[in-house]
C-alpha cells in the first residue's frame, strides 16, 4: 500500500519537476519579467540553440509558451509604459523554436516597426520568416506593408506585394496592392487602404494600432 503511494508520489514529483524545469527554461528564454538591469545579460543569452536543445523534442509546445508570454508582455506594456524592448528577442526565440509558426514574425515585425519605430529590425525578422517559409504570402505581404508604410520605399513594397500575389492562398487584395504600389499612386491613399485592410483582417491589437494610424491620417 505504502509502496503504491510512494511510487505515485515519485512519479508525480518527477513529472512536475520536468514540467517546471521546462517552463522555467522557457520563462527565462521569453524573459518578459526581467528587470531592466538584467536585460543586458539577455544580450549574451545564447538564445535559439540552447532553448531548442532544452525543449527535448517539444519545440513547438515550447514556442507556444514563449509566444503566449510574448503576447502577454505586449499587452501588459501596452496598458502601462508603452515599452516593448524585449518583444523582438522573444519573437526571435519563438522563431528559433518553431520556424514554421508565422504569426510571431508578423506580430513581432509589426510591434518593432510601429511601436519601437525600428522598421529595419522588423524587416529582418520578416526576412527570417520568409527564408523558413518561402511559400507564405502573408510574410511577403507584411514585408511590402512595412516597406510602404514605414520606409516609404514604394518600389520594394511593390516587389513584395507582387510576390505575395503569386503565392498559393493569397487574397484578392494582394494583387490590387501590388498594382497600387507599383504605380506609386499617392502615398496617403495607399497607406489608408493598407491600414483599413489591417483593421478588417488583423487581430485585436493590430486593429488598435490601425485605428490609431487611421485617426492620425484623418481617414476615419
Amino acid at each position: 500500500m505504502t509502496a503504491r503511494i510512494d511510487r505515485a508520489v515519485v512519479a508525480g514529483v518527477a513529472c512536475a519537476g520536468l514540467l517546471v524545469a521546462l517552463a522555467g527554461l522557457i520563462e527565462r528564454a521569453a524573459g518578459s519579467r526581467f528587470e531592466r538591469a538584467r536585460e543586458e545579460e539577455l544580450l549574451y543569452y545564447p538564445s535559439g540553440f540552447m532553448v531548442r536543445q532544452a525543449a527535448l523534442g517539444y519545440e513547438t509546445a515550447a514556442a507556444d509558451i514563449a509566444w503566449l508570454r510574448g503576447v502577454q508582455y505586449y499587452g501588459e506594456h501596452r496598458l502601462t509604459d508603452q515599452k516593448f524592448d524585449m518583444i523582438g528577442h522573444v519573437m526571435r526565440i519563438v522563431a528559433d523554436l518553431d520556424p514554421q509558426f508565422v504569426e510571431p514574425y508578423v506580430f513581432g515585425a509589426f510591434v518593432l516597426a510601429q511601436e519601437l519605430k525600428q522598421p529595419e529590425r522588423g524587416l529582418e525578422l520578416l526576412e527570417r520568416g520568409m527564408r523558413a517559409n518561402p511559400a507564405n504570402w502573408r510574410l511577403a505581404f507584411e514585408t511590402g506593408f512595412l516597406h510602404y508604410v514605414c520606409r516609404h520605399d514604394f518600389a520594394a513594397a511593390g516587389r513584395y506585394f507582387t510576390w505575395a500575389s503569386r503565392m498559393p492562398g493569397h487574397p484578392d487584395y494582394a494583387e490590387r496592392f501590388a498594382a497600387f504600389a507599383n504605380e506609386r499612386a499617392g502615398n496617403t491613399g495607399m497607406a489608408v487602404l493598407l491600414w483599413k485592410q489591417v483593421l478588417a483582417t488583423g487581430n485585436r491589437y493590430m486593429q488598435d494600432v490601425a485605428r490609431r494610424e487611421l485617426e492620425r491620417l484623418e481617414a476615419i
Binding site: 520536468l18 536543445q53 513547438t60 507556444d64 518553431d98
Partner: protein, 255 residues
C-alpha cells in the same frame, strides 16, 4: 506466443491497476482542457496551442509512465518473488521479458491513443475542423515509446529501479541530441573524445526521427515514407535492444 501474450496481458492488468496511471491520465485530460482555456490569450493561434500542448503532453506523459512503471516492473517481481513460480513454468526467459515489454508498451500506447482521441474531439468541437494529420505524429510517438520501453526493460534486466529510471531518462534525453553528436564529434578536442562521441552517435536511438509534431501542428501531414522509415527504425531498434535484454536476462540467476 500464447505464453508471451499471457504475460503481456497480465502486465497490462498489473500496470493498468496502478493508481499512477489514473492520476496521469487525469493530468493529461486537464492539460488538453486547460490549453483550450488558455487559447484566447494566444492572439488567434489557439488551435495551434491546443494541438501543441495536447501532443506534447500526451507523449511526455506516456514516456514518463513507460520509464517509471517499467523501471519497477521486473524488480517488483523479484522482490515479491512472484517471478519464481512464473519462470518455473514451461516459459523461456526471453518470452517472459518480451511479454513484459509488450504489456507495458501496449498500456502506454493506449494512454497515448486515448489522449490523441480526446485532443481530436476537443479541437473538432472548438474549431469545427478535425486535425486528422496529428495521427501521423501520434503513430511515430508510438514507435518512440516502443524504443523507450525496450530501453527501460533492458536496464531493468540487470540493475535497480532507481538506476534504470536514471539510465532510461538519460538515454531518452541523449537520444534527442543524437543528431547533434555528429557535429560535436567533428569538433572534438582529442581523438578519444571524437571516437567516444562517434560511438554514442551510432548507439543512441535517434529520437528526432519520431518527432513530427512540428509538421502536423502547421497542418502538414506526415508523409508515408517518413512513417515507413519511423516504423522500420523503431521496430528494428526496439528488437535490437530486446535481444540484448534477453541475452542478459537469460544469464540471470534467481537466488
Amino acid at each position: 506466443m500464447t505464453r508471451v501474450l499471457a504475460i503481456a496481458r497480465n502486465t497490462l492488468r498489473e500496470v493498468a491497476r496502478e493508481r499512477v496511471v489514473l492520476v496521469l491520465a487525469m493530468f493529461g485530460l486537464a492539460l488538453v482542457v486547460g490549453a483550450q482555456a488558455l487559447s484566447p490569450l494566444a492572439l488567434g493561434e489557439g488551435r495551434k496551442v491546443v494541438i501543441d500542448f495536447g501532443l506534447a503532453g500526451a507523449s511526455l506523459l506516456a514516456t514518463t509512465l513507460a520509464v517509471f512503471l517499467g523501471s519497477t516492473l521486473l524488480h517488483k517481481e523479484l522482490e515479491r518473488r512472484t517471478v519464481y513460480s512464473i519462470l518455473a513454468k514451461p516459459i523461456r526467459r526471453e518470452e517472459f521479458l518480451i511479454g513484459k515489454f509488450l504489456g507495458l508498451w501496449f498500456t502506454t500506447s493506449m494512454l497515448l491513443a486515448g489522449m490523441a482521441v480526446i485532443l481530436l474531439a476537443v479541437v473538432t468541437l472548438a474549431y469545427r475542423d478535425t486535425p486528422w494529420q496529428i495521427l501521423g505524429a501520434v503513430g511515430l510517438t508510438l514507435m518512440e515509446l516502443g524504443i523507450v520501453t525496450a530501453v527501460v526493460i533492458l536496464f531493468s534486466s540487470f540493475t535497480t529501479p532507481a538506476l534504470t529510471a536514471f539510465f532510461a531518462v538519460a538515454a531518452t534525453v541523449a537520444g534527442h541530441f543524437a543528431e547533434d553528436l555528429r557535429y560535436f564529434a567533428s569538433q572534438g578536442a582529442s581523438p578519444a573524445v571524437q571516437a567516444l562521441t562517434q560511438g554514442a552517435y551510432w548507439i543512441l536511438p535517434h529520437l528526432d526521427v519520431f518527432n513530427a509534431r512540428g509538421l502536423v501542428v502547421h497542418g502538414l501531414s506526415v508523409g508515408p515514407d517518413r512513417l515507413a522509415f519511423g516504423f522500420a527504425y523503431g521496430l528494428l531498434y526496439a528488437i535490437g535492444i530486446m535481444v540484448l535484454a534477453g541475452v542478459i536476462f537469460r544469464r540471470r540467476e534467481f537466488r
